[in-house]
Symmetry: C2
Subunit: 375 residues, 2 copies
């Protein structure tokens, strides 16, 4: 498959760093700013590929760590790659496994060579290196692969953050030397924790290498939101304007607006799908916790005016019943609503940038969202 990857910057917002773009991959185009639903184990939880696509997702994220452990590369290679395995024809971005190795696995030991760890599934020992991560992503055949990085936790000492920045740069160079399928491009990841000068150093190191795009990693890992916004404000301008910028692990409405304001083009997060399965619906006026007794006799939709399948067909009272009764359909219906909410928000954000109303719409959103949270 010949690679046709490109990023076109279509418009810059007048009053902020927000920007409208279009990412072209071999398997299709992605309008940016874009949100990528997460399909950790080769499925966006509870949904079929058709549903994900119909909800407006143009790209999904899948997890190298999980797929490497189960079903394993042998199965996915034999299937002809991840797209064919899961029957999703549109673009896929795979993370490198770095974040999961640091957050999920046990007994990990990090050296410059790589990470020795034990599987969270069965305790079996594994050794993941930058080279191995890229090889695995090559087998998965994602359209965008991520460089293998060391993600600093929060809180984290300055010295530890320095070490992660240096190691991430070392590993990034090694990742770029690995031969990948023609259809695949690689994004580098900027680390540096909550230390602006380390973010600058990491951005400088990474942008000196020729990645197809750049991600900001190690945010939304527990630090206060204002701190995240400040780092974003300072770091995003250090990334090349002509390449896509991806903020990893961020997906709440307020953070999506702020990320776009700082000039981010891509986001991913388990939040919309994960909270759905816990019975929480996202709306422009804050969260609806559907199990609450107040909804027992509420025959209105989750979000009046919402055009999603769930809101068009089912009431809060019914959804509450499904969750109280432990019915899978409830998980599906809230997942549909939450992805619709998030993907529609991105569409509105793109429209606003195009119409030069991004800043005023952002202010409106904040007023509505914050007053709702006080209710």
């Amino acid at each position: 498959m010949q690679n046709t990857f490109s990023f076109q910057l279509l418009k810059k917002s007048a009053g902020s760093a927000a920007r409208l773009g279009r990412l072209q991959t071999t398997r299709g185009a992605i309008d940016t700013p874009a949100f990528m639903p997460v399909g950790t184990q080769a499925t966006v939880k509870t949904l079929t590929p058709e549903e994900v696509s119909q909800l407006g997702a143009e790209i999904i994220l899948s997890n190298t760590y999980h797929l490497y452990l189960r079903p394993g590369t042998e199965v996915i290679a034999a299937a002809g790659g991840l797209h064919r395995f899961m029957n999703w024809e549109r673009p896929v971005l795979t993370d490198s496994g770095g974040f999961q190795v640091f957050s999920l696995s046990s007994l990990r030991q990090v050296t410059d060579e790589g990470v020795q760890f034990r599987s969270h599934l069965d305790g079996s020992p594994h050794f993941l290196t930058p080279e191995r991560s890229m090889e695995v992503q090559g087998v998965l055949g994602s359209d965008i692969a991520m460089a293998f990085d060391e993600c600093s936790p929060y809180p984290c000492s300055y010295e530890e953050a320095v070490a992660a920045v240096e190691r991430t740069a070392l590993w990034a160079e090694r990742c770029l030397k690995v031969s990948l399928p023609d259809s695949q491009v690689v994004f580098g990841i900027v680390q540096g924790g909550v230390f602006p000068e380390l973010r600058s150093r990491s951005a400088r190191l990474l942008t000196s290498m020729n990645f197809a795009g750049y991600a900001i990693g190690g945010l939304s890992v527990g630090e206060p939101k204002p701190m995240m916004y400040e780092i974003l404000d300072r770091t995003t301008p250090l990334l090349p304007e002509d390449k896509p910028r991806y903020l990893m692990g961020v997906g709440s409405a307020d953070c999506l607006w702020e990320g776009v304001r700082c000039g981010i083009d891509m986001f991913d997060c388990v939040l919309p799908t994960r909270v759905a399965r816990n019975g929480t619906a996202l709306t422009a006026r804050g969260k609806v916790v559907i199990r609450n007794a107040e909804y027992a006799l509420d025959f209105s939709p989750i979000e009046p005016g919402c055009s999603c399948y769930t809101c068009a067909n089912f009431t809060r009272a019914y959804l509450r019943h499904l969750f109280k009764a432990g019915e899978i359909l409830g998980h599906r219906l809230l997942t549909i609503h939450n992805l619709h909410f998030t993907l529609t928000l991105m569409k509105e954000i793109r429209k606003a940038i195009l119409a030069d109303t991004f800043e005023s719409r952002h202010e409106e959103f904040k007023a509505r969202y914050h007053s709702a949270k006080e209710l």
Copy 2:
């Protein structure tokens, strides 16, 4: 809603008691012999109403016992009935709660008045009588309500079976005196365990009352299949030819063929949906246990030639992965396949009756099914 209930007998098979019919209800027609998927808690587990309908289901069954306990009649009454609550516009048959009271609840005490029992959910005490069961079914607003009966277990003494037959008749009379919504009709239930003479007595008692249809209850409760077939062979001819006959709780392919052969028009069973969630797919050649290691690298569909959504889009290897990884999509996809399998089987049975090939097709099925089971 004016009631337009009717049953039209379209054709009788030449070589057996199999018959083709059409059941007309206020909310739509049902071609018989028909299989009714079970939506215990106001949802056919894992599926949306559209999916159930697209799979070819013309009627579903829902459970009075479960809905009475949760969400309760207050919620469903306020929703405007079960159809609106769950957004299913086609016919619904509700069971009476009798079977569940006897099989699920604890500390039950049966008198001629009714059944005192404790909820399997929270241990709360309840008293269900024939009148109360019909009232609850009236609130649910099902198209077909079932009379409240006493279902004998297997094994069961002759004396106990006699008592259940007498009490079921007593209760049936009381059920018929309850005023119901115009859109609703009531079916009576023949009991009698595995004792042919008690089945005859129960059939005589019930058919002397004017029910809109007749069910055979208390079979498929643990007795050997040949015993069930014998009871069916003897009991079905005792039911009025011009009214629909419903065999409760039966849904495996071999039993559906046998039931139709004996002259049954309607079936319900949790089997296709329940085994799907355990990872078992139904096929014309027997069961496929999708977790089995032999499917890890099997990139064929569950059932080659099957036209269901699952078989058209996903491989055994992928389905196995979903089940191994505990992914809900696996439950959905096997539920779709199993309901497609069962509903398509009913369609083939109807075609065979129409084409006068029912008996030869039944023989073919048996040869294929039994040789497969020996593999």
